[in-house]
Structure formats: structure tokens, C-alpha cells
Amino acid sequence: MRARVFVTLKRSVLDPQGKAIQGALETLGYPEVEEVRVGKVIEITLKDGERSAARARLEEMCRRLLANPVIEDYRVEFEAEPSGARETEPTSAKDPA
């Protein structure tokens, strides 16, 4: 069973990294980008088991270790759900320019 944990900065917290990336994208010719925020995604492979129990455990892991509750929010998702969210497969970037 695979889960993804998203750890993102709270909205009100300054994200200097996001700001810098946005600036870079603008210079590179992407004026359509209005805001960029950077977070972590933690992909966790779990021994198979019941999903709802796993969720509770994962959320506990978030509170105890994975997220820093002072400045971050977290969210748990399971992979391989029947979902329209994953439109593309992982892509190996080829062309660095």
C-alpha cells in the first residue's frame, strides 16, 4: 500500500523559496504564474493492511514527526485510487534547456 503525505507551509507563513522560484519563472518567460509555494511530498510504502487504520497511523506520524505543526499543514492521500488526479505518468526530464 502506498501513501503520499503532503507537507506544506501554512498559507500565512512566508515561503521565500516559492517567491524565488516565481521570480525565476517570470524571468524565464512565464508571466502566467501568479504564485508558487513549495512543500514536501513524502511517499510512504506500507505493509498491506486496512486503509482506515493506516490513515490514522499516517496522520499520527505527521503530527509526531513528518510535519512541523508550527508552520506546516499536512495531508494524507493514498495512491492507486481510482482517480482522475493523476493525468501523467512520471516523466524523466530529458531536455535540460
Binding site: S12, V13, L14, P16, Q17, N68, V70, I71
Partner: protein, 750 residues
């Protein structure tokens, strides 16, 4: 205004009554917020001011004492050293990485605000025992945060100090020091002047971060404090680097009248203090302030503690020049108001007045308390120590290996290797010595600096503890071959409303003042951090002294480490065995008790004088201060602490009452010196002439450290490689695996 709202702003009913009287009306919410931060302990020093006034602040080379953003000391050749130490204890407890990082950001701004280029950082840290995972997490986060900010902006962290004790478990201390160099004729002050001159905001946009930071730093922790978390600020060292370079560049022109960083209480404090110093008024419109979030109120904008912002007053007509310079550095810069004649702070929001307060009401007329003091009754009991009841040491070897591995004494490399201590090419003595030394660019001089403070001593005897801290600071600087110049200080205490805490504070300030007077090192500034307690458990009263000294010749730097086989080893200073408050008693007998070692400041001064004189004469090869762990630890450090291979030594000591007292007693005013053998008679003669005890201890050589004590068994004989291993592992052992895990949290740049 409801009583709840007033209380939530940290104001007492009486303070609120005075506030209304001053205004002659009810305050607006924005005004209440402004009063609340300006009258907070953090900004107003209402409990401490009457004591701090008594400190010696004058000296022939002191150009700026307390009152500006940092102290300024003349170091000759048209240059000045600008330095200051600040606490960031509360924010670091709530969020160690960001709390420590923004502490570094803040102290850097204090220095470059004055026109100085920051050249050296140091940090003074206190945590609970490393056995506790939470303390490891805090230490990891704080160290990563200090490094994260300092390394990125490119100011070396050249030294510091770190201690562990139970009392810091729920209240770690993070004090950061910064020193910069400026030209004597180009010092900037935080004064507004010139009616009509533009007030300019530069740097990062304002967000809702840190609102109430200053009031938070002015109250104790209790359950629920963690709920205040959204006030945590995130540092952006990259923006600060741009801000630093841009500010130093604009300072080369004559467009500026005054400049002030926005630290605690942000826009409020910077506008008020600039107006107060210049005896003028300032009028701003918050709608012009660059904002990061939507819908911010005037209250929030005035109280925000967003980082990396500065406030400038420029000459009228020079606006464009200033704004365009900052835009070249990709920084926001906006004229947000003007200097006015009437000494009032006027805040508008799209033209509408939302606050108007006489400047003096926020500064001079802020409350001032002579809080009740009372000497704690428990001190007598603590002071009592019957050594008869404590068995003397039996196995010197085992004890030495154990004490050098105690985190309070062990190598701090795990910490300082996370700091760039080399950038800017000035670092002459790296972390690990008694004092850090940097060369002063463009001259043949160097500056030595040290942070010192033994909380245990201050706890047992605040007055004496503070004196000992000043003396140790001066001694550390002397060990580098420098002449002590002046201090800055950080006073970390519990709740000042508790008369016992207030007594500790009063005593400590007195002790610090006396020592500074006698040693000729005036106080150029500092910082008071009260309310360091959680659920009523206070910390040791912790006085941290930042001592700065000057070397005229940067090629004549002294280090603590033994140099050559055959060199002779001396102990300069008194030979006593005082175990009260020692690391030994704490570690081996779990005792924090006894009389702290007595200090004779006249003797201290003479010891330092002899050291500097013999160094001047070129007779010294090394000098090391005896501090925590006493003589045996000092000798071990001389053998193993240097960057090269460890060196052995053979030592012979005469008599003494107890073996542990001789080896580990922490009598102050003592230095371990080495000289080439042919210089020994000269050193002895000079010391005798000055009335300073000088004992020949032995010689450098071999691969083991042997310490024999006449008439006693169980002395020390250990391979230096083994001692070094224990010393290097003391802190490291807690982090082999854990470091990674504990360090994860609190890091956002994953």
C-alpha cells in the same frame, strides 16, 4: 475596551488607566496594540532600566554605549567595532529552526543598521540534557537555523558556547552575537530628523507573521502558548543578503538621515524610536506599506514582525535615488510617510487617522518599575556543602574520561562544523579555542571575542556569577593575546514579577557592573530576556557576557594548544581547590551546591596583565583559561583540542586537600601557559614581581597525559588519543543516528 482585551495585550489595569490619561480618551485598537508592544518588557525594559542605568558605559574608546542598535568601540586607524548580543529564546523554543534563524537575521540588522559590515557571529546556547529526544530536536533545529541563516548570508559564525542543564529543558536559551566593522566617520544612527524628510520602507513585504512577538517574549510559557504559533516568523537570508548589500551601498552616499531595522514590534518600534531619538514626529500611511497578504488591518501592519525590513529617513529630494538603488537589488522600497515637527506618531490608513500618540508616551513615559526584591531563602541551604560527606576520587583516569565526555565540556565540533566559520577570509582562530580571532581587513590588527556565562554559578550566587562571567570573558580574550576592550551582555532571567527573580537580577547587574568597572571593560549594550520559565519552572539566572578585545598585530595570535615537545608548562594564578558549583560535583555527585569560587578582581587583572606582558615579550607559546572542569580539564584540552595531532604532557602537582579538588576545582583567574624552557626564569620573575602566583607544572611531550599529585594515589595517566576520543564523542554520540531524525523537523528547505 474590555478588560479581557486589555489583559490580552499584556497591559495591567493600572497601565491602561495611565494610557488613557495620557491620551485623554479611549485608545483605538491600533493604538492599544502600539502601546502594548511599546510598553512590553521586551521594548520598554520597565523592570530592568533602573538597574541597567548603574552600569559603567563610558571609556575613552567607547563611541556609543547602550541606547543605539549596537555599541561602538574605536579600534584605531579610523575604524570602529560595532557589536551586540540579543536573545531569541522564546521563538526558538516554539520553532527552533526559524526562531534561531530569525535571531541571527535580527542581530545582523542591528549591526548593519549602524553602517558596519557584519564580520563575525557567535552563539550562546543552553538546552536541557541530550538524553531527552526533545532537547536533541531543539539543539539540532537551533544549530541548523543559525547555520542556515549565517552560512547563507555569508557571515562566519566563529565561536560561541553551549551548556546543558535540566532547567533549560522547558526553556532553552538562544543568544546570538554579531560584530561588524565600520569607518569611524561613517557611523549611522537610528535618528529621524528634518521636518518633511521622507520615511522609506525597504525590504520584504509585510505579512501577518510575528504579531505580538514582543508581548510573547514578555510573558511566561504556559499551557496554550503553543497555540500562539502562527506568530512564528520565517527567515529569508537571501533577501537579507540583498538588503545588507543595498543598505551598505546607500550608506556610501549622503542621502540618508537615519536608518533603523524593524525588529521586535516592527514598524511600531522603528517609527517610534526613530522619532524619539530625533525629538520629532513621524507620520505614515499603512496603506502604502508593501503587503504580502490581503486585507491586513492597520493594527496588523503596525505590529507585524515580518523579517528583513528596514526603515529609512532620507533627505528630501533624494527619494528617487534611494528607491532606484533598492530596486537594482530587486527589493521593495516605498515612501510611506514624512518626518513631522510635532513629536507625535501619526498612523493613517488611506488617509484616515487610525492612531495618533505623543512619542514620549511610548518611550520616556512608559512605565518604569522598581519591583520588589527578596533574597531567596533557599540560597543558604544551597550554599552549604559539606565535602566530608563526599568521598574523594579514587580513579583519576576514569574520572577524566568521564568529565571530558560531559556535553558541557566535550568538543562542540558537532555544532560548529555546521557553521561556516571561514567565509570572508578573516578567521585566524577558529572555533574550539578560548576566544575567536578575526583580522581587521585593511589593517594589521585583529579582534578577539568570546561568549561566557556559567548559569550554575549565577544560580548559586548571582552577583559573583556575573563577575565570574565578565572575568572569564576577559581572560579568554587575553588567552588569544588580545587586550579586553568592552562588553555587550545578554541577561536571561525568569519572571521579574517574582521578587526572588528580581533580586537575582539586581545582584547580577551589580556584579557585572563592578567587574566591568574594575577590569576596565565598559558595557556598550545588551539585552534583557525575562520570563524564561515554563509552568513556574525558571531557568538558572543566566548572564552571558560578550567580550571583545583588540590585538595590534594580527600575526601575534595566541592559541591554547601545546606546541612542541619540551615546552615548559606553567599555571599562572592562584592554586586553590574550590569545588562549589563545579561541573565535577554536578556530574559525579548530582550536586549543584556550595559556595561559588571566590574571585579577587585585582588578582584577575594582574594575571591577565602578566599574560599579556609575557606575550608581548614573545615568551609565550600557548595560553589557556581554566574554566569548567578545572585544571585537569584545561590541561587535557591543551593536549587534545588543537587542529593538529594531540600532544602529551607530564605534570607534577604539589599536595592539596583532596584529589578531586586539585584536579577539578574551578578556581578562577588561572591560566595554563607554555614557554620555551629558556624563558621559564623570566616568566617566573615577572609574575613574582607583579605578585602573581606562578607554578611550574611540567613539560610537554610524549603521547600520554600524566598528572601526578604528590602524596596521592589514583592520579592520571592516559594516552591522549583516548582522551581525545572521549572528548570528541561527548556530544556526537547523541546524534549518530538521531541527528538526522531530529533535524528533520523544523527544516523547510528540504
Amino acid at each position: 475596551m474590555t478588560p479581557e482585551l486589555i489583559a490580552a495585550h499584556g497591559l495591567t489595569a493600572e497601565e491602561y488607566r495611565i494610557l488613557r490619561e495620557i491620551l485623554g480618551r479611549e485608545p483605538t485598537l491600533t493604538e492599544l496594540g502600539i502601546f502594548s508592544v511599546m510598553w512590553s518588557e521586551h521594548c520598554s525594559y520597565k523592570s530592568s532600566r533602573i538597574y541597567l542605568k548603574e552600569l559603567p558605559t563610558q571609556g575613552s574608546n567607547i563611541l556609543q554605549g547602550p541606547g543605539e542598535n549596537a555599541g561602538v568601540v574605536d579600534i584605531g586607524e579610523g575604524l570602529v567595532a560595532v557589536f551586540k548580543i540579543e536573545s531569541h529564546n522564546h521563538p526558538s523554543f516554539i520553532e527552533p529552526y526559524q526562531g534561531a534563524a530569525t535571531g541571527v537575521g535580527g542581530i545582523l540588522r542591528d549591526i548593519f543598521t549602524m553602517g558596519a559590515r557584519p564580520l563575525a557571529l557567535m552563539d550562546s546556547l543552553r538546552f536541557g540534557p541530550l538524553e531527552e529526544p526533545r532537547n536533541r530536536y531543539l539543539l539540532s533545529g537551533v544549530v541548523a537555523g543559525i547555520g542556515g541563516y549565517g552560512n547563507c548570508i555569508g557571515v562566519p559564525t566563529v565561536g560561541g558556547e553551549t551548556y546543558f542543564a535540566d532547567c533549560y529543558s522547558h526553556n532553552p536559551l538562544v543568544n546570538v552575537f554579531n560584530l561588524g566593522i565600520a569607518r569611524r566617520d561613517r557611523i549611522f544612527t537610528a535618528r529621524a530628523a528634518g521636518v518633511g524628510n521622507p520615511v522609506i520602507y525597504v525590504g520584504s513585504k509585510t505579512g501577518r507573521d510575528g504579531i505580538h512577538g514582543a508581548t510573547m517574549a514578555s510573558e511566561s510559557f504556559h499551557e496554550g502558548s503553543e497555540e500562539r504559533r502562527p506568530t512564528v516568523q520565517v527567515g529569508d537570508p537571501f533577501t537579507e543578503k540583498l538588503l545588507l548589500e543595498a543598505c551598505l551601498e546607500i550608506m556610501k552616499t549622503d542621502a540618508l538621515v537615519g536608518i533603523q531595522d524593524m525588529g521586535a514590534a516592527g514598524l511600531t518600534c522603528s517609527t517610534v524610536e526613530m522619532a524619539a531619538r530625533g525629538e520629532v514626529g513621524i507620520e505614515i500611511d499603512v496603506a502604502r506599506v508593501p503587503q504580502r497578504e490581503e486585507g491586513m488591518s492597520s493594527y496588523e501592519i503596525m505590529l507585524s514582525e515580518s523579517q528583513e525590513r528596514m526603515l529609512l529617513v532620507a533627505k528630501e529630494g533624494r527619494e528617487e535615488e534611494v528607491l532606484s538603488l533598492f530596486s537594482r537589488w530587486d527589493l521593495d522600497a516605498v515612501v510611506i510617510g514624512r518626518v513631522t515637527e510635532e513629536p507625535k506618531l501619526t498612523v493613517r490608513d488611506r488617509g484616515r487617522v487610525v492612531a495618533q500618540i505623543p512619542v514620549a508616551a511610548l518611550t520616556e513615559d512608559a512605565p518604569l518599575y522598581r519591583r520588589p526584591v527578596s533574597r531567596p531563602g533557599w540560597l543558604d541551604e544551597l550554599g552549604h556543602l559539606d565535602l566530608q560527606e563526599i568521598p574523594d576520587l579514587r580513579d583519576g583516569n576514569e574520572s577524566l574520561l568521564r568529565i571530558v565526555a560531559s556535553p558541557n565540556i566535550a568538543s562542540k565540533a558537532w555544532i560548529y562544523e555546521q557553521y561556516d566559520y571561514l567565509v570572508r577570509l578573516n578567521s585566524l582562530v577558529l572555533p574550539g579555542a578560548d576566544a575567536a580571532v578575526i583580522r581587521v581587513p585593511g589593517t594589521s590588527k585583529a579582534l578577539a571575542m568570546s561568549l561566557d556565562g556559567n548559569g550554575r554559578f549565577c544560580y548559586l550566587n548571582p552577583r559573583q556569577g556575573a563577575m565570574l562571567a565578565v572575568a572569564e570573558g576577559a581572560r579568554n580574550v587575553v588567552c588569544a593575546g588580545a587586550k579586553p576592550l568592552a562588553i555587550s551582555n545578554c541577561l536571561n532571567f525568569g519572571n521579574p514579577e517574582n521578587p526572588e527573580i528580581m533580586w537575582q537580577f539586581a545582584e547580577a547587574v551589580r556584579g557585572m557592573g563592578d567587574a566591568c568597572r574594575l577590569l576596565g571593560t565598559p558595557v556598550t549594550g545588551g539585552n534583557v530576556s525575562f520570563y524564561n520559565e515554563t509552568e513556574g519552572n525558571g531557568i538558572y539566572p543566566t548572564v552571558v557576557i560578550a567580550m571583545v578585545g583588540l590585538l595590534d598585530d594580527q600575526t601575534r595570535v595566541l592559541t591554547p594548544w601545546f606546541q612542541n615537545d619540551g615546552d615548559e608548562i606553567f599555571l599562572l594564578g592562584p592554586f586553590r581547590e574550590e569545588l562549589g558549583g563545579s561541573e565535577y560535583l554536578n556530574l559525579f555527585h548530582h550536586l549543584v551546591a556550595g559556595q561559588v569560587p571566590s574571585i579577587d578582581l585585582e588578582m584577575e587583572k594582574k594575571v591577565q596583565g602578566v599574560c599579556l606582558q609575557t606575550h608581548q615579550a614573545g615568551w609565550l607559546l600557548s595560553a589557556h583559561d581554566c574554566a569548567e572542569g578545572g585544571l585537569a580539564v584545561a590541561l587535557a584540552e591543551c593536549c587534545i583540542g588543537g587542529p593538529g595531532e594531540p600532544r602529551g604532557a607530564r605534570i607534577h602537582l604539589e599536595g592539596g586537600q583532596r584529589l578531586d579538588g586539585v584536579l577539578y576545582g574551578e578556581t578562577p583567574s588561572r591560566l595554563v601557559l607554555t614557554t620555551p624552557p629558556q624563558r621559564s626564569p623570566e616568566i617566573e620573575a615577572l609574575a613574582r614581581h607583579q605578585g602573581v602566583p606562578c607554578l611550574r607544572l611540567g613539560t610537554v611531550g610524549g603521547t600520554s597525559l600524566q598528572i601526578r599529585v604528590q602524596g596521592r594515589k589514583g592520579a592520571i595517566n592516559l594516552p591522549v588519543a583516548e582522551i581525545r576520543r572521549a572528548w570528541q564523542n561527548g556530544i556526537h554520540q547523541y546524534f549518530e543516528e538521531q541527528s538526522i531524525r531530529d533535524g528533520l523537523r523544523g527544516r523547510i528547505h528540504g
